[in-house]
Symmetry: C2
Subunit: 211 residues, 2 copies
């Protein structure tokens, strides 16, 4: 299977929504889907949808009929990496970290959190899932020994940069950052920020405007 080398970032960001929709249609017993239907369901421009799907489909759509759903779903899943599972580690077992570590659904998205770390040794040990929470002193050796390339940061803002530096030192190449702070990292490291303050600001502004 061969893909275009460079699929634009906004396309990647739309693919999960396409995938949800395609699976819903498949569950309803549909065999083919057209770009126009996808566009209409998701309130997107049909030209955009056509380009997006063409860039990840291995076989292409058929005029008038559209894409075979089962093939297209496999193509999108393959493209998004859902067919591989990247092991990840998580640092910071507070409220959010514990919830993410306990969440069983990540493998559906191609990621599995295999271990967690915390500076507080009261929090280390084996979880009900059988997965371990280890002290920070084990972080580097664990990541290197297990070839971990993905790290999740759920520590408070003031310790996030130190953790980020330690992860990079341990060979991590992509960071999912939930700490509300801007992290400095070399250009080849992807830092994906998940700042809850941004959606909350959008919601508050909408409600303020209505008052």
């Amino acid at each position: 299977m061969e893909y275009h080398n460079k699929v634009p970032k906004p396309t990647i960001q739309r693919l999960p929504a396409y995938l949800q929709l395609l699976k819903r249609y498949q569950n309803d017993g549909t065999e083919y889907i057209s770009c126009n239907i996808v566009a209409e369901e998701l309130n997107l421009n049909p030209v955009l949808v056509r380009k997006d799907l063409a860039s990840v489909s291995s076989v292409g759509g058929r005029p008038k009929i559209g894409y075979r759903l089962d093939t297209l779903i496999l193509d999108v899943e393959h493209y998004l990496g859902y067919r591989d599972i990247f092991p990840a580690i998580l640092v910071g077992m507070g409220h959010l970290g514990s919830a993410l570590f306990a969440y069983p659904g990540f493998p559906d998205y191609g990621v599995e959190i295999v271990a967690a770390f915390d500076a507080d040794t009261d929090k280390t040990g084996v979880m009900p899932s059988g997965k371990r929470v280890m002290p920070m002193s084990s972080l580097s050796s664990y990541c290197i020994d297990n070839g971990i390339k993905l790290g999740i940061i759920t520590v408070p803002a003031d310790s996030a940069q130190v953790v980020c530096d330690a992860l990079i030192e341990a060979g991590i190449r992509a960071i999912w950052n939930f700490a509300p702070t801007h992290l400095k990292a070399p250009a080849h490291i992807l830092v994906q920020n998940e700042d809850m303050a941004i959606p909350l600001a959008m919601l508050s502004k909408h409600l303020q405007a209505m008052e």
Copy 2:
């Protein structure tokens, strides 16, 4: 205090990052900050930062010196609605819903989750925080009686639209949706989607590209 009527959405989305930075400088004992420093710290275009801050500042910056930090922080917080607390309700007490309901930090961002609802009556009752989880049959009357305008959806994808419709029926005007599905809502309702699949797709693609 008077603001420009229409601050663009990307500006609103950048304001939380500005605020974090401004508070960090204030904690370090700094009194004034220039747009150039903000731009440099956050890897942004200085012209953009200048426009953003001008659009929310009540007093303006001083040439060469910049903005007074304490005033600017108040202005940004006021603008983002952090000085008001919007009460919110949450529907769906699974892993994620429980974590959000237990998280004590939302009031810092102008939102407080005052009650939760779940279809499973085994989950209803009073939480350690003293807040209540109620059955779905109480949703509408609770929202109307308490003037709730903000709803958080943490139910599975296949029940999200039903919950969304119920929230709108109960007077909700803004929805923070964590269910991995596209919700249909009238144009005056803001639906803010928090789809974990999108950042996970970005991270997986980055790691795939490195293999």
